[in-house]
Amino acid sequence: MSKGVHRFAVLVACATFFLIIAGANVTSHDAGLATSDWPLSNGQFFPRMVGNLFWEHGHRLVATGVGMLTIALAICLQVSERRTWVKRLGWLALLGVIAQGLLGGLTVKMNLPLAVSAAHATLAQLFFLTTVSLAVFTSRNWTIAETTVSEDGEGVSIRALCVVALTVILGQLVLGATLRHSATWDQELPTGLLLAHIGGALIVTLVVGVTVLTVLMRHRGEKYLGRPALFAVALLIGQLLLGLAAYITRATSPEDPQPLNPMISVTVAHVAGGALVFATMIILTLRVFRVLRLDRREYVLAPA
């Protein structure tokens, strides 16, 4: 396994995270329609980057960069990777970033309809998940790992818990994306969606908490599993606090003359935090599936 390919995959994942931050800034600055055309901005590839065009076109430039990096990664994997499924995942990532670009264009051309904007935000997270997965699969730890961690099959399956945790996090991200795009900075957030997102946060906390606790209690000595588990719970605590701060700052933004800090920074940080929680859980999930071995107990009937 090439160290260079792994490092490149990590670079692509980091660039994608930066792109998520750039995209979140577009929404928080209400810059999504700073230019009415796509893919150029006001008919130019390099327009004057003033006002909200700085955020919107800046986001498009970063996205172009990530797209180029993804093309390069897919080609690298095709050339140097022995595992066919990893090569395919590389091309799937490329399809994902192309689809994401097209969704971005569609949402501009259609003047930001809620469903398309929320889909654009959700696909961003899923694409990030794919790049993080590629970084995991190309890592040395993954290639040398063996199924060395035993599960005795009693109690709740850790694999199942991880899958459920990923699912509820994805659901919460969809809710969050829908909430963010349902109202601009000068409008109040719809109460129903807000309550749903808060309810989702409780469920995510519960499920991730139980998952992490189960991993730590059953496999305390396994750093390969313990580290991402601890990271996940630490990030989740931070994300909950950011969520509270985002709610407080966002609640008063309709009284502001324009989008201002701290509302902008806090809401962007909350989006980024959600992405990191998602990423950490996928790392934990992939590692759980990689190293956990279910020890089946054989029951022998006693002679009559």
Binding site: V50, G155, L195, Q258
Partner: protein, 294 residues
Amino acid sequence: MLSKRARLWLGLLVTVALLSIASSCSKTETPDGDKDGGKDAGKAYTSKGDEGTVTGKVSYTGTPPEAKKIDTSADAACTSKSPNLTTEEWAVKDGKVANTFVYIKEGTLTDGSKIGDWTFETPKTAATLDQNGCHYKPHVLGVVAKQDITITNSDPTTHNIHFTPKNNPDWNQSQANGAGPLTHKLNTAEVLVPVKCNQHPWMKAYVGVLRHPLFAVSAEDGSFTIKGVPPGKYTVVAWHEGGANGTEKTTEVTVPAKGAATADFTFGSTAELRGRPSSMPVVSAIEVPMMVKH
């Protein structure tokens, strides 16, 4: 595994979470609007020469909210042209309010027909909305449905004009410095359509769209005059921006033939609704019952 108490707390937590999610299933209110979708209905109104006016003043009692300073540093062209830009939500001078959209909402003419039974000619002259000093001039504009709105850019920077109506299609166009005027129409009545600039998010304007020309926007001294009002009894509404959908004050007036009715409106923390009936009948041949709202 888990103790009984832990299971109880877990169940409670899940219930609270599910209730929060369930509460998201709420009906969305549909906005009020022209129910017939702006279709032309009824007979064409032609002037009979006996139309009157509705005049009045819009005032503010108490201390109006202070204008907030706008940070234009994101675009040096805006800072250069308007170094001290402030919000225009409440333009109050000596207790008088500008930028209030006053219009006849409904009413009955002296011949018994409703104002909504008539169609009015769309003005051939376009209304103008100018982007100047990185704010809109005027801040509040009234048009008749399907009347042309000419949008100009008088600034040394690119603007992006975005109409965000509920009853009309969304419309968003960029307009560079030096570009020719844009033209747009709003075909369906709507009070009022917010307009914003996605390039400069502090820029706001409001466009009132009606099926008739019986509206006015209060001036700096709070005064307004609605001309060409057929004699009859009407509900007059004063709309001012603020909150989710603005604030409205309503009064009833009676407009005599060739006469004037007065409608004063008051906004503010201790505002009372004041509306006075016509006090200057030019032709008193027809007696119309007075309606006074206190």
